[in-house]
Each structure stands twice: as structure tokens, then as C-alpha cells.
Symmetry: C2
Subunit: 178 residues, 2 copies
DNA sequence: TGATGCATGTAATCCGTTACATGATTCA
DNA sequence: TGAATCATGTAACGGATTACATGCATCA
């Protein structure tokens, strides 16, 4: 799964500019399980247009720069369906947080707490953006599933962390009192 | 966080060969939140040795090829502590599975079920390997935390999927009966 | 006046994977 | 005899990020 397929898949849901796609990978529906930068999105869109999988329409805007709106073609939809037919690769989860927690013997209790609080904040921010997607977006079955999955997994993380964090804080509070 | 730091962190827990490190990234403690290939591990270890953050000891073995056992040095520990001091980057989660589910309108119900079953199998395999780590490994606080976190998150995924999958299967069974 | 948002794009660079190369031993 | 495990390493290649470049409008 590369940025090219990602863009093609995105455009099968709605037409969009490169800028909008990036935005959605940052804040929208896709933000908790995919990412891509402008440096990969713009070339991918040009390439897709060259191959006829998408079309471009240039729109002038008053007060804003011109934009290029990309739409998927029938050929594009066919290509997408073909690539969706392949079984998905296993999820990839990379966590510096867990790495730090595994090496917690090398850091102070306070550093540990700080790392956990940062992790909590990150998870909650993700949950928040899922909530916003739910309120705004069109609640079809597909996005419901994806947001629900994200919600379930993130909530589990928060619950786990809350438990551990409160225990840690209780211990440090007790030690401070002594 | 690059492979270099990853290896240094690993070696702060126990001395090991490049081969063993790779193994642990595949099956062991690290497997559900980190990965690296030989092509990046071996050069990283050589580099660390050059810089004096680790030392190498060559061991001959009967019946097996010689191996190079790497151990962290005091300088290495200091460098590691310094890098652990930096707040961890946000977790990265990439899921082709969720991508497919978001585009489920383009595929058949059967394909959807197949993808979900594959996802279930992947999650359960990960849970299984966590369980094995728990039985074998030394149950210190750090590994307990990491395995517990993984367990919580993966279990949430399984629970969510089981629910959705059983509903889907019920519907298709009903349709088949009609 | 300086930051932020909208909007597109390229080039350098990095980091890592894949594939290749080697070789002995053990197990089926 | 062929596959799998142990064990190390390099070179080619790919894919993506980062930084850079540009420019107007709005808001504080």
C-alpha cells in the first residue's frame, strides 16, 4: 500500500485537491491509521492523472490560490477494485512510547509519568477527532466501522493507561507524604 | 527513533547478537510495536561499535557459525538515557485493513468477511505471542506494562471485530436461507 | 507586521527493505 | 535430498520525508 493507492482510494469517496487529501490524513477520517506528506501526494496525483486513473479540473478562486480538483475515472475505479482484492498486509504499529516504557529502568519515575501523560493526551486527541468526524460526516456503514474500530482500540489504551497512571501517582503521593 | 537507537535500547536489557535482536523483533517482546530487518540491524551494530557505544565479542560455536555478541558500554547507556529523555513521538498506526473497510462499497460481502477474518487471525496471533512472552520471560514491571498494553489494545480490536463479524455472518446466513 | 491558512510543487536526502551471497548442520 | 535454523553481511533500489520555493489573504 503506497501513497498512490491511498490517493486513488480517497478519490473514490469524493473528489478532492491534494491539499484536502493531506488535511484528511492529518485531521479527518484517515488520520488515525494512515499518513502521507505533500511531497508524496502531489507527485502521486500527477502520476495517476498521466495514467488516466483520475482527471484534473483547475478551479480559480477569488482571494485564494487556484486549485486542482482530482476525480477518479472508471479506469481508476477498476484499478482500485483490483488492488482491494489483495488481502491486506498486517497492521503496522510503531510505538516509541512502549519502547521507553520497556526501558523504564533507565529513567526517573517523574519522566515515566510525563511520558504516560503525553501518551494519554495523544490518545485522547485522536478520540476527540474521531468524535468530530462522527458529528460532521455522513454516517454510512463504512465510516462507522472505521471510526468504531479506532474508538475501541484507543479507548482500550486510555483505560489501561488511566489505571497504571493512577496507581503510580498514588505511590508517588504517598512517598511525598512520608 | 531509528534502528540504531532501537538496537542500543535492546542491548541495554541484555547482550545479544544481531540475529537474536531480529528474532525478538519478529516473535519476542518487541514484535507488536517495532520492527527492523537484518539489512538495517547489522550496519547499525557495526556503527555503534565504531563509536564505542557497544563492544563486540566474537564467539566460536561447534556446529554453528561463529557469532558476534554485542554488549552496551557505559558511554552507550549514557547516550541511551539522553535519547530517552526526549518525549516519544506519537504512535504510528498503519492499517490497510481499515483502508479496505472504508472502501467496502467497492468489494463484495464475501471479500469483506474474508478481510475481517484475516484481521482477526492476525490479532489473535499477536495475542498468542504476547501470551508466550508472559509465560517464558522474566516478569518484571517494564515488560509487564508493555505486554499488558499490547494485550489491552489487541483484545479491544478482537472484541470489536467479533461483534461485527457475527452480525455480518448472521445476515448472510439469513439471506442464504431465503 | 508577523503568523496562519490556502494552495502547489520540486530536489535533496535519508532510512530502510529486498535481494543476493555464503556456509555448516540438523531434521524429515 | 531438500528444507529449516543459525549466522553475518553488502549493494541496489525504492519510497517517503524534509526542506525549500512561491504567493496571496486574513486576522491579531
Amino acid at each position: 500500500m503506497n501513497v498512490r493507492e491511498l490517493c486513488l482510494g480517497y478519490l473514490s469517496l469524493r473528489e478532492a485537491t491534494g491539499y484536502e487529501i493531506k488535511k484528511d490524513f492529518e485531521e479527518g477520517m484517515f488520520c488515525h491509521f494512515m499518513e502521507a506528506s505533500y511531497g508524496s501526494i502531489y507527485p502521486a496525483l500527477s502520476q495517476l492523472a498521466l495514467e488516466g486513473l483520475v482527471t484534473v479540473r483547475e478551479e480559480e478562486q477569488s482571494g485564494k490560490p487556484d486549485k486542482k480538483v482530482y476525480s477518479i475515472t472508471d479506469v481508476g475505479v477498476a484499478a482500485l477494485k483490483k488492488s482491494l482484492n489483495v488481502l491486506p498486509a498486517q497492521d503496522k504499529f510503531k510505538s516509541e512510547f512502549l519502547f521507553i516504557m520497556l526501558l523504564q529502568n533507565h529513567i526517573t519515575v517523574q519522566q515515566r509519568i510525563t511520558a504516560m501523560e503525553k501518551q494519554m493526551a495523544d490518545l485522547k486527541a485522536d478520540l476527540q477527532s474521531i468524535e468530530e468526524c462522527r458529528q460532521q460526516g455522513p454516517c454510512d456503514e463504512a465510516s462507522d466501522f472505521v471510526l468504531g474500530y479506532g474508538n475501541a482500540v484507543l479507548t482500550a489504551g486510555v483505560t489501561f493507561l488511566e489505571d497504571k497512571l493512577s496507581k503510580l501517582q498514588a505511590i508517588t503521593a504517598k512517598q511525598a507524604a512520608e
